[in-house]
């Protein structure tokens, strides 16, 4: 069995006259946290659209566990930008959304989701509506809704982009701890360099549109990372910023 969970080979995509993805190749090994970093509008979200099947690539291959992605793919649990919680559903019923779509009965879905509320710091808020929760809590609920689908891989699209700086830093550390415990296979889309460095085993830095992989970084450091004070992490962070800000070098 291939140790690679996901493999993208020479993906190309254009929308009309706009060439969005020029040549994207990347791999996500099983149990690794991989990030895609790029400037705004580089086509990061287009990669996710290709993966979730919202749109099809013009050229290239997408392999899951060595096999081409099936049309009725059910291998990804997707966490969109913002929390995308349904304002009309209580937290418990927001968390069961993916299971309900999979056809799990409401009662069984609730029974599977309820025990996880404590671990996600949401105990006691099962019957609250999203509007009653803070931004950080809503993001934790969105992640809970994502992981409970038990797909082979998580796709996170700028999950903390809408939060204030302090809450975002807290959420990044919280996610680092959670990931260390569960070792999900994750593909994270972000434009926050520090976030990527704090969480990832591997970072792909994209050029601006049309996007290619400008550079690939490996971060063979222990999890969870503290983020501040580590010279090795700081050096990589500076290196990535350099790549993003001076694409010609």
């Amino acid at each position: 069995m291939s140790p690679l969970r996901l493999e993208l080979v020479n993906l190309r995509k254009r929308f009309g006259a706009t060439e969005v993805l020029d040549d994207i190749s990347l791999t996500v090994p099983r149990g690794e946290f991989v990030s895609i970093l790029g400037p705004s509008g580089a086509g990061k979200s287009t990669i996710l659209q290709l993966l979730t099947g919202a749109t099809a690539p013009d050229a290239g291959e997408m392999l899951m566990d060595g096999q081409p992605l099936a049309r009725d793919r059910h291998c990804f649990a997707f966490m969109p930008q913002g929390d995308a919680l349904m304002p009309w559903r209580r937290m418990l019923d927001n968390a069961t959304l993916g299971l309900e779509v999979q056809g799990v009965g409401r009662k069984a879905a609730r029974a599977r989701v309820a025990p996880l509320f404590a671990e996600f710091g949401l105990a006691g808020f099962e019957h609250h509506y999203p509007a009653q929760l803070s931004g950080g809590m809503r993001q934790r609920a969105a992640l809970l809704r994502t992981v409970v689908q038990q797909r082979p891989m998580l796709l996170l699209d700028e999950p903390f982009g809408a939060l204030d700086a302090l809450t975002r830093a807290q959420m990044q550390r919280w996610l680092a701890t959670m990931w260390t415990r569960h070792r999900w296979t994750v593909l994270l889309i972000t434009h926050d360099v520090r976030e990527a460095v704090l969480l990832s085993d591997r970072i792909y830095v994209l050029t601006s549109r049309p996007a290619r992989v400008a550079h690939q970084f490996h971060l063979p450091f222990e999890h969870p990372r503290q983020g501040v004070g580590s010279p090795a992490l700081g050096a990589i962070e500076a290196d990535i910023l350099q790549t993003l800000l001076n694409p010609k070098d």
Partner: protein, 265 residues
């Protein structure tokens, strides 16, 4: 917060809400009453509010009987209109070309002058309930359809994308996301349409009916009784306000989450 102050606070909030409109209506009536008393204007030209209320009380049996007919026409017409608007809103949401084909037709129905159409509808459908239902549906259908169609469009793209990524079908996404997203728009449309509905029913009755506030108003006018005309108008205004209030209560019951946004922990 102490328990003793809680009821007082509720009372204060109620006064805050109900006080200003009640005061405004009372001031209007007081000014009207004073003008009639001081100017000595004839009651067959402008009756005082006190006289209208007195006559309304005298005529309460007749007014109640005619009101019931109007309420019935409003309810049936509005129910027909709501069902049709919902059906068409779903159809045009799933088949876009249908939307382009039908919208001009619906807009034309809104440009028809009721004065011209009402007698024709009575001519076609007789003096029974049917012409009232048709006219009420005619004036309320389009606002409801537009409200629903706009409501579906207001669905959060992220929520739709999320459901699609989970493998939800188009129908599933409609039921789980687009339909609940449309609720605030639906209720906004409902509040507007319910006021049109009463007016539409009265107009239909005015054009010809056995019973109803419309025909009551017509008879009172022909007998030179402006006090009775205005008494019927008071009743219809009260009816409309009650129906409006009912939609507000219905919305609160149907959307308990909508009032929570301002109360975060």
């Amino acid at each position: 917060m102490s328990d003793a102050s809680a009821p007082r606070r509720v009372l204060a909030r109620l006064l805050n809400h109900v006080g200003p409109p009640v005061a405004a209506v009372a001031a209007l009536f007081a000014g009207w009453e004073a003008y009639v008393q001081l100017s000595g204007i004839s009651a067959t030209t402008l009756p005082a509010p006190s006289r209208i209320l007195f006559q309304a009380w005298e005529q309460r049996d007749a007014l109640a009987r005619h009101s019931m007919a109007t309420v019935q026409a409003t309810a049936f017409g509005f129910a027909a209109s709501l069902s049709a608007a919902f059906l068409f809103s779903v159809l045009i949401d799933f088949f876009r070309p249908l939307r382009r084909a039908l919208f001009p037709v619906f807009i034309i129905t809104q440009t028809l002058p009721l004065v011209a159409i009402a007698p024709l509808v009575v001519l076609w459908f007789g003096f029974g309930l049917t012409p009232k239902i048709v006219l009420v549906a005619l004036v309320t259908f389009f606002p409801m359809l537009v409200a629903l169609a706009q409501g579906y469009e207001s669905t959060d793209r992220n929520i739709a994308a999320l459901l699609a990524s989970m493998g939800a079908s188009r129908g599933r996404i409609f039921v789980m996301a687009r339909l609940p997203s449309a609720l605030p728009y639906f209720f906004a449309g409902l509040r507007i349409s319910i006021t049109y509905a009463v007016v539409g029913a009265i107009f239909a009755e005015y054009a010809g009916a056995a019973r109803g506030l419309g025909i009551y108003i017509l008879n009172a006018k022909n007998n030179f009784r402006p006090d009775l005309v205005l008494a019927a108008v008071f009743v219809s205004a009260t009816l409309t306000l009650l129906l409006f209030g009912a939609t507000v209560l219905l919305q609160r019951a149907a959307m308990p989450w909508a009032r929570l946004s301002e109360r975060r922990p």
